[in-house]
Amino acid sequence: MNHILEAEALTVNYGNANILEDLHLQVPEGKITVLVGANGCGKSTLLRTFARLIKPKDGHVLLDGEKIRELSTKSVAKRLAILPQGPIAPEGLTVLQLVKQGRYPHQSWVKQWSTEDEQIVNDALEATQMTPFANSPVNALSGGQRQRAWIAMTLAQKTDLILLDEPTTYLDMAHQVEILDLLFDLNSKENRTVVMVLHDLNLACRYAHHIVAVRDKKVYAQGKPEDIVTIDLVRDVFGMGCTIMNDPLFGTPLCVPHGKGIKCCLKA
Amino acid sequence: MQNLLTSTSMKRSVLIFSCVLLIVAFILSVALGQTSIPFQLVYDAFFNYDASNPEHVIIRTSRFTRAVVATVVGASLAIAGALMRALTRNPLAAPDILGVNAGALFFIVCAITFFSVDSLIHYMWVAFLGAGIAGALVFFLGLLGRDGLTPIKIVLAGAAISALFASFTQGLLVIDEQGIQSVLFWLAGSVSGRNLDMLLPVLPFIVLGGSIAFFMGRPINILQSGDDIAKGLGQRTILTKVVMGIIVILLAGGSVAVAGSIGFIGLIVPHMAMGLVGTDYRWIIPFSAVIGATLLLLADIAARFVIMPLEIPIGVMTAFIGAPFFIYIARRGLARNA
């Protein structure tokens, strides 16, 4: 069963300034949604507010029609998982120990490690291909492997909604694709709703069913990549001129930025 | 942080004004105390000295010395604090927080207990040694773990090292009970009961350290932008940092040797100075020196009056003033920005 996440008249502030103002957004079920926007536009803030990590000044986030801040945090955790940016694991923590933490919302004082828990953790490790690394310390892994370990933890939470804040920043290209492919599979095979913040517009277009461009404290535009990613959008949201063509492999919009380069600009 | 003084002329005039305040504080320090001495008498004591007049003698010997010690130590600790702050790029770094005082103290107590050292010159060297070792230990402890020298790690490392040396010191005092009374004033910090003979051996080192510090303003500014950028601009960063470290040891260690463990000056004063003049160390250092000296003088005066006729040791006084300020900084979250 899928869960519905939406924001209603959301206003979030930091100190005296509003970062988001009167924002409305419904997250499409069972799809991959990517939040894009310029630095500091508030996309991370939006994601974190969705995950109830931040308390809005005004408005609410609704999970299945109920105000998320009125629900018990554990019940939210059974439906929604969040992977914040740049998580740090304590020294010496192994991958297995990390992934086991994901089962927290389903456990109780006496029921600490049921058969189901064990099965789910194993599945999570399998899905992220981290089984061979189960007993390695998280901090000893490469960037891509580390990120997969954290994703395995959120998988162990067994939620339908997975929110990720810049899961691919600081990863090299191969690892970025590796992570995004994994999330793509989770969505297509298990019908999980994925919401993430990505910096790379082109990757966003390639993997997203639904793109949400955040600008000026509100949702500037949302929709399918091929529908909304236009030259005008890129100029308004990122302040940059570009040429849009079709990605030669996937057919999704490919944004080529204007500016300078070694060879002369082939097109105006 | 917005600084109050923006133009160079404003800074210069405020600095001069602060010096005047310092002199006033100095005079007050000499005049006030258990026996209040009228200003006329203070003037006479210096310019029409009459050796048979007991009041003149008090002024010349104990009050004057006391004021001088407070000035010198206050300025030293403040400069040391400013340098530590610059060195670690961390608003919470100060010699006492970093265990420098505790280390110097422990070594002094060791020297008294085990080696029956009682010459001041030796105290001084011992204090320098202790200060250096403690500082180095904290530095290395703070480097443990993945994320390098974060503010919180330095503070905890400093607290741990301070606690370590304090335990040892306490232990020594328990073993050698007679030692307690004689070392009490070291522990608590005091600028009284000194005569100039005690200050003089240390003075050259402090003056040396302080003078070099005044010229370090510009290199420090460059260092603030980051090691890589400084190197890119041609600065010999390692040399600069080593010099800064040595100055801190000279100033902080020397201060402990003369006046015992006095805390918080090195923490608060640079903060105040920065609030006035911003992040330019060419101004921060002189301002810190003047403000530090003034603050310690005023603290000393207060320490004399609060529980008359007894005196609160000045190290305690600075803790009483400094701790709330420190807490205020922590609450404001200023501590989180390097």
Partner: protein
């Protein structure tokens, strides 16, 4: 997973997991602890052979050494054990909440609060010395409350708590120094011994008073252990996984303060146990918090007993406070830590 023992009841009503390695280490430490206790009971100004000790304890002996063992050494050893457990668990909790390996009750102000309470008592109280622990606990409680309240700004973050703890600690130390300076010489030296931490004059009364606290609080910690595992990953992740971060932080803090406060109340400011014992345990078994509790406890107990043995016997006929030696053990350990991580 081959190296785990999993315990489950039918239909998974109750289930938990235990690593074989951890089980082994617990057993080894138990043996070591018993050995240490036996040693403590044997040595002293008169050496009593361990065999005789066991005989006396169980009533088969000649009664010659009964007094020494039962009234002098046994309470001391038992108190040392309890104190070691309390301080170790307290330090373990703090390191988990504050997410920093250098956090310890003596460093962030709990001990300084107890010191103020104790010193005020020593300087001004006219009632029997038996109320000293109470004064210390009140001191620890008051100071910890102040620290917590001052750290509250829409919630408490570890960083703020540490900083404010250090500030308050400095303030409290100032008060302590004033009291010492103003005090008479006799009281001063007594104060110093208290500050350093000593097991001298321990009696069974103290043990009985401390025992329920330590047992209850440690048990409580064990039950809610898995929350700390998650909290160590960061507030955001903890919230994301459904942990009521602020509530548990307060609860853990309370437990930590009570453990440290009661321990210090009876024994004085013994330092470093709360810092060192958790580290040693982590080196043995890694990071699972539930396992660390029993292991740290035993390591802590062993350290305190050992420090007390040294204090009692190394400088005969003087009886030196155990606190000196807990610091002496702490120092080389620190240095060892330094070298270990320099190569990383």
């Amino acid at each position: 997973m081959p190296n785990y023992i999993t315990v489950r009841t039918k239909s998974d009503k109750v289930s938990f997991q235990l690593s074989k390695k951890v089980a082994m280490i617990i057993i080894l430490l138990c043996i070591l602890l018993c050995g240490m206790i036996l040693l403590a009971l044997s040595v002293g100004s008169d050496f009593i052979s361990p065999v005789t000790v066991v005989k006396e304890l169980f009533g088969y002996g000649t009664g010659e050494y009964l007094f020494t063992i039962q009234s002098l050494r046994l309470p001391r050893v038992l108190l040392a054990t309890l104190v070691g457990i309390a301080l170790a668990v307290s330090g373990l909790i703090l390191q988990g909440i504050i997410r920093n390996p250098l956090a310890a009750p003596d460093i962030i102000g709990v001990t300084s609060g107890a010191s103020v309470g104790a010193l005020l008592f020593l300087s001004y109280a006219t009632v029997s010395i038996h109320y000293l622990p109470l004064a210390a606990i009140i001191g620890a409680g008051v100071v910890s409350t102040i620290i917590y309240l001052l750290s509250w700004k829409k919630g408490v973050t570890p960083i703020r708590m540490v900083l404010i703890g250090i500030g308050i600690s400095a303030f409290a130390k100032g008060i302590v120094t004033v009291l010492i300076v103003m005090g008479e010489e006799v009281r001063t030296s007594r104060a110093y011994i208290w500050l350093t931490g000593s097991l001298y004059g321990a009696n069974m009364q103290d043990v009985y008073l401390l025992l329920p606290w330590v047992v209850l609080l440690s048990l409580l910690t064990f039950i809610i252990a898995r929350v700390i595992n998650v909290k160590e990953l960061g507030d955001d992740i903890a919230l994301g996984v459904g942990v009521k971060v602020q509530v548990f932080r307060l609860l853990f803090l309370l437990i930590s303060v009570m453990l440290a406060g009661t321990a210090v109340a009876f024994v004085g400011g013994i330092a470093f146990v709360g810092l060192v014992a958790p580290h040693i345990s982590r080196m043995l078994v890694g990071r699972s918090f539930a396992a660390l509790i029993p292991i740290s406890s035993m390591v802590g107990a062993i350290i305190v007993i050992f420090a007390d043995i040294v204090g009692r016997t190394a400088f005969l006929p003087k009886d030196l406070p155990a606190g000196v030696f807990t610091a002496a053990i702490g120092a080389p350990f620190f240095i060892y830590l330094l070298f270990r991580t320099r190569n990383q």
